[in-house]
């Protein structure tokens, strides 16, 4: 039961079905990668796992270590140990990164218990240094005026600070130059642990030059159509997504 288990998930937005019987199990200790062309439903999967209200689950189950995730509110899922690194992190004007992270950690403490501010900053600065994030970052508003790379690094920083049990990274690699990509990959690799499951959603193979996945899944038209090892990603890179689309199209006809 120590897994993020998605079973026969059907999800619609504005009445249009996007996920069409999606199933996947990410056990603790493993890194899974989902690849797929644009429009295959990758980001919908990420949003629906986090509990975005625009998406309607019409069928299927999602369990996290046996807990029915779909019964939980967005914030409850976060506290339960799920983390979503956003493809497009939201800007929150006037809320500083330090206050934001503090509030998120505070939310995980029992009522009446307060965060030790000194320990918090010590920990935060350590993690920021590892991700090569400047100190002035703590006082800046969350994601406001950040470059694409800064936003993605901020997502990784949050993940490291919040120590989730399951992390879903939605195209965290897109829009990054090679230096930023390496830093992000380093962050993800330090998070690898027998106590944690990681699901990477990506459009490109290049992230996998730095992160060794246990499994690669190919997603198309709302479900997984192929599963393999790292070599599957390389094959996709070489042959392109049309190759997969054709393979799907044949049995359908």
């Amino acid at each position: 039961m120590s897994a993020l288990s998605i079973n026969d998930l059907h999800v619609a937005i504005d009445g249009m079905e996007i996920l069409k019987g999606f199933s996947l199990e990410v056990p603790k200790g493993e890194v899974h990668v989902i690849m797929g062309p644009n429009g295959s439903g990758k980001s919908t999967l990420a949003k629906v796992l986090a509990g975005h209200e625009d998406y309607e689950v019409t069928q299927g189950t999602v369990e996290m270590d046996g807990v029915n995730l779909l019964d939980l509110e967005v914030d409850e899922r976060g506290r339960e140990g799920l983390f979503l690194a956003f493809q497009y992190p939201t800007e929150i004007p006037g809320v500083s990164n330090a206050n934001f992270l503090r509030a998120a950690l505070q939310a995980r403490l029992p009522e009446g218990e307060d965060i030790d501010a000194v320990a918090f900053y010590k920990n935060l600065y350590e993690k920021m240094d590892a991700l090569e994030i400047d100190r002035s970052f703590t006082g800046r508003s969350v994601n406001e005026g950040f470059s694409g790379g800064e936003k993605k690094r901020n997502e990784i920083l949050q993940m490291i600070m919040l120590e989730p049990t399951y992390a879903v990274l939605d195209e965290t690699d897109s829009g990054l130059d090679i230096d930023a990509l390496q830093i992000v990959a380093k962050g993800v690799n330090t998070m690898r642990s027998p106590a944690r499951g990681i699901l990477l959603i990506t459009h490109y193979q290049r992230l996998l030059n730095y992160i060794e996945p246990d499994y690669v899944h190919v997603m198309f038209d709302g479900r997984i159509i192929r599963t393999g090892g790292k070599e599957l990603a390389l094959e996709l890179e070489k042959k392109g997504y049309d190759w997969i689309k054709e393979k799907v199209a044949v049995p359908a006809g």
């Binding site: 986090a50 509990g51 975005h52 209200e53 509110e73 967005v74 914030d75 899922r77 976060g78 506290r79 983390f83 979503l84 956003f86 992190p89 939201t90 800007e91 929150i92 004007p93 006037g94 809320v95 206050n99 934001f100 509030a103 998120a104 939310a107 995980r108 508003s141 969350v142 949050q158 919040l162």
Partner: protein
């Protein structure tokens, strides 16, 4: 809380009512010009009619609130015990250049700044010791945004307040703190701030309007502020109004800014059931700059009515205005702002922005930005927006485990931060931020 219901047009009988009689002031040592000015103002107050519903300057205002003002009496002196207690509670900033504590209009404690030549006195004393300086700068311009009747009343009965004179070239290293405590029910105070920054001087003043006992006290404040900003001087006033929910306030403020001077006027409205602010700046000489900032967090049935004027009278002057209102429950705000550029004021740069954040479907934000431009080569922009907390911002915070109520509060507090950060004094920013945060926390309670 006493909530005597007054029918429209009815007048209460009894002693000490502010609309009927003036307090017994000891005016023997005050200059003749001031005393006769008071007498004339009392006549003017008596013959000036109450604002009419049809008056543009009172558009959207609930004028019934004005009739309620008739039930207030002149605030009596507070007892020695309470005065001591309040003086002890008047310490928000750790380090200040000076501190004055007023209770029901009387100065009860004063720490004067050490900088040479700085005058930091009660208005009563300034009238006796520096009558010429007061005369030169006191209430120079007529209230022109609708509140002249109340300006006349203020002028007629005013006895308390603060006089600050910063001599040429003197910079106050730390802010001055001024406390306006109010104690009692249905009592009225008339605080006056006369702040004078001589050429190339610099000062920041924090002014708090508070109730001694938020559960019991309910009063009215009709206050006025004169900011005189000399050539190259820099004067900031940060006013925080956090009175009890049953209090009321009329606050009229005017800044006169001379060559290359810089006036910064902040208003934080957190308490009181009804507030009327009239805030004016006069850009009188080349290079003069004025900044007006406001944050209002309103809930319950609160009404905050703000009228502003940025009047560019000289060429190459600049002004900026940023007002932010966060509204909850059935509260209402009114913002009516005018940028006026005179014929000769070429090269004016003037901006005005009012942003409303609606935290409830029943709250009502009225915005009336306005421009009146009579010169060439002028850059002006104005705008008002009203929105709700963005769902995507909430989703982001909540996905990190933050409860929805906390997330909403954080976003609303963040909304006000843009104004708070303009104070540019870290310690004072923290004080103000704490007061705003307290108000947001009380909303959830």
């Amino acid at each position: 809380m006493s909530e005597a219901v007054l029918e429209r047009g009815e007048t209460l009988a009894g002693e000490g009512l502010i609309f009927n009689e003036r307090p017994n002031l000891d005016r023997a040592d005050w200059p003749e010009w001031f005393v006769s000015g008071q007498d004339r103002a009392w006549e003017e107050f008596q013959k000036t009619p109450m604002p009419k519903r049809t008056a543009e300057m009172w558009r959207f205002a609930h004028l019934k609130k004005l009739d309620d003002l008739k039930r207030y009496r002149h605030a009596p002196e507070v007892g020695a015990d309470l005065a001591n207690q309040l003086a002890g509670r008047s310490r928000r900033l750790e380090e200040v250049s000076g501190r004055m504590v007023c209770a029901n209009g009387r100065t009860i404690s004063l720490d004067a700044p050490e900088e040479s030549g700085v005058l930091f006195l009660s208005m009563q004393e300034a009238l006796i010791t520096h009558p010429d300086l007061v005369e030169k700068y006191f209430m120079l311009r007529k209230a022109e945004l609708g509140g002249h009747k109340f300006a006349a009343l203020h002028r007629a009965v005013m006895a308390g307040g603060v006089f600050l004179y910063v001599p040429e070239g003197v910079e106050l290293k730390r802010p001055l703190e001024i406390y306006h405590w109010l104690s009692g029910t249905d009592v009225a105070v008339f605080p006056h701030l006369l702040l004078i920054a001589q050429p190339n001087s610099k000062a920041t003043v924090a002014s708090y309007h508070l109730c001694a006992d938020d559960d019991k006290d309910a009063g009215l404040s009709i206050g006025m502020t004169d900011l005189i900003v000399g050539e190259g001087a820099d004067l900031s006033l940060v006013s925080c109004q956090a009175r009890s929910a049953a209090s009321r306030m009329i606050q009229l403020s005017a800044a006169s800014v001379y060559r290359d001077g810089n006036a910064r006027n902040f208003m934080f409205n957190l308490g009181s059931s009804w507030v009327r602010n009239e805030i004016v700046s006069y850009l009188l000489e080349q290079g003069a700059n004025s900044e007006m900032y406001s944050v209002c967090v309103s809930d319950g049935e609160q009404q905050v009515d703000q009228r502003t004027l940025q009047h560019h009278e000289a060429p190459n002057t600049t002004s900026d205005l940023l007002f932010k209102n966060a509204l909850y429950d059935r509260s209402r705000t009114i913002f009516a702002g005018l940028i006026k550029v005179d014929d000769e004021a070429h090269g004016t740069d003037a901006y005005q922005k009012c942003r409303n954040l609606l935290g409830s479907d029943e709250a009502e934000a009225n915005s009336m930005p306005g421009l009146e431009i009579n010169a060439d080569g002028v850059k002006c922009s104005h705008g008002a927006t009203t929105s709700q907390v963005e769902e995507e911002e909430l989703f982001y915070l909540e996905s990190r485990g933050i409860a929805p109520e906390t997330a909403r509060q954080m976003i609303a507090l963040g909304f006000t931060r843009e104004v708070i950060s303009r104070i540019r004094d870290t310690a004072l920013e923290e004080i103000v931020s704490g007061m705003v945060e307290e108000k947001f926390e009380a909303l959830g309670a």
